[in-house]
């Protein structure tokens, strides 16, 4: 058992945080890894990189549709058919400009779909087989933005909030099993998704640092991972500010 390679599936594998998690995993031990994403050329670059870092690992790329439930079912079934999965990391997301979301209902819809509905569908598709196997970790990247709605990003935040509530329910469902459901809440991270925040002068954590917290948190069996951990404290305060005060803040 101990010599068997970990089987790791990464949904949204071209996200920078996911890529750094993948690097850490394959460098810890040779893995049998499946990268799932939309941009297959980009995934090939990542897979090649991972192979150089860990020649003993197997890296497979799969192109996927992120919204259609039937396609997701099909994709996940094909992964499950090849064997049980040890870790699933659901990492995709997109952070559009809030103002644009308010003006463009189509963008609003896409944002809710890709950040809220899509991760839930993927997680649900993996859940039953993990239940049967009674093992594995299902980790979903949410966001600190899901902890409390605020005017500067509540469309994105509400989709991430949906993920939070979903994970809460899943953790309840799997409470007495050996399956772990993990919610990861990164603070603002320096990725292509947040480059506009950086232009506004925001201080961002590096994707590498965030990934290290995620990989370590998962191996320690944490259920909620704030990355970096300081966000646990910050969000505890933010969640407890009374509404009459909070609504006067310009955040």
């Amino acid at each position: 058992m101990s010599t068997k390679k970990q089987r790791i599936v990464i949904i949204g594998a071209t996200s920078l945080i996911a890529e750094h998690c993948a690097r850490l995993w394959v460098m810890q031990a040779s893995s049998d890894m499946i990268l799932v994403g939309r941009d297959s050329a980009r995934m090939e670059q990542i897979a090649t990189d991972l192979k150089v870092r860990s020649p003993g690992s197997q890296i497979k790329c799969m192109q996927a549709d992120f919204i259609a439930a039937d396609k997701i079912t099909e994709l996940v079934a094909s992964i499950k058919n090849e064997g049980a999965v040890d870790i699933v990391l659901i990492a995709h997301g997109s952070l559009p400009d809030q103002q644009k979301c308010q003006q463009d209902l189509l963008l609003c819809q896409d944002t809710l779909l890709i950040n809220g509905l899509s991760p839930v569908l993927f997680a649900e598709a993996f859940a039953t087989s993990m239940q049967k196997a009674n093992r594995g970790t299902l980790a979903i990247i949410g966001s600190v933005a899901g902890d409390r709605g605020r005017k500067s990003n509540y469309i994105y935040g509400s989709a991430k909030g949906l993920v939070s509530r979903y994970v809460q329910g899943m953790q309840h469902r799997f409470a007495n099993t050996r399956v772990k459901i993990v919610l990861i809440k990164p603070g603002p991270t320096d990725t292509p998704m947040t480059s506009h925040l950086k232009q506004q002068g925001a201080k961002l954590a590096s994707a590498e640092e965030v990934a290290l917290h995620i990989v370590n948190g998962i191996s320690k069996g944490a259920l909620t991972i704030y990355a970096p951990p300081i966000w646990k404290l910050i969000m505890m305060i933010v969640r407890h500010i009374p509404a009459f005060l909070f609504n006067r803040l310009n955040i």
């Binding site: 670059q45 990542i46 090649t48 990189d49 150089v52």
Partner: protein, 430 residues
Amino acid sequence: MVAVSSWGRLNRLEHDVIAIADRRLASQQICQSHPGIAHGMGRSYGDVCLNPGGILWKSTGLDRLIQFDEQTGRLVCEAGVLLRDIQRLMVPRGWMLAVTPGTQLVTVGGAIANDVHGKNHHVHGSFGNHLLQLTLLRTDGEIIECGPLHHANWFAATVGGLGLTGFILTAEIQLRRVAGPWLESETIPYANLEEFFTLADDSETGFEHTVSWIDCLSGGRGLFMRANHSSHQQLFTNKPSKWRIPLVPPVSLINKYNLAPFNSTYYHLKKSHTGRSIVHYEPFMYPLDNVQDWNRLYGPGGFYQYQSVVPREAGMDATRAMLQEISRSGEGSFLAVLKTFGEIVSAGMLSFPRPGVTLALDFPNNGENTLRLFERLDKIVGEAGGRIYAAKDARMPRSLFVSGYPRLAEFMPLRDPGISSAMSRRLIGS
């Protein structure tokens, strides 16, 4: 726009930063956004990596490895990969970069563009001597693959080319074999420059790494360190102590009042603990990498580094004259390095390393006083037929650049007209 500093923190000016993170898209991004200059970790000290008010192509997202041959040690990677990541990945597999500078927190692209050198110059030359090939993206979209044997002029212009010939996309690097991460090192005190040169000459044949710390106020005493790679098996683990300078102090913590006692204490403390020891390559080669943000120590004004090389014949006199000027001025800092370069010919037209002796010192930015001292040092370097290291420079006069880099005329036609940096405008006018 984002405020960006280089390592010397002499200024903090607005730049339009464009992240280059996918080598397929780089061409489109760069063709649409010039003039700019490539910027990796921003570890060069002066203005070689800056373009205030203009565009920076931030390359650290281009950090994928492409190919590695375990048999031959040839590594192909993107230009934004950090030297640290190559070292940490490859040392356990028995390979290592042949040449690294005093920090491993730099990108491959930056190491090429500045043709960096290390403590083993007399054995391995500089970074460019270990490049097999590189891919250069010109701002008109042309992609040039070049190496020492094909398109050799593009290669020679790009190695040490200060980022001015194009945006480096990928590189193929020849690694060297190592038995493991350990070095057998030896520290020997020297009392004056004569002793330094004797030690340096005696050590060249028997030791791969040689470097020395010099007390810039005492006229030539210092500590000579030399080391060889060792086949020692894991004796203990390297647990780097992680320090961080948490804020910028209101004044430089390194100044004329504490420098002399500090240097003296350090010299005598180390002098009583000389001898041989086994050390991990990280603390030996990159001692300051464990102190995050150490450049903040110099306070809000930032600091200069002055690194020169002068030919060996003039080395003793020129070094002595420079140390006298520095000592008289009361400027200077604890971080002072004296080292001899070997005979290996650098690969680049504008490469810094040449046979001779190199002196590198940090100076807190004390405005006019510091700049006037540099003018006096320039004169010594110029008269000795030496040159200043552009990667460290923020102020050398154009005349010294022109006299120090005789292949400049050969380089100029190969520049990319869509690339401009604060340094290129300062030293070559555009």
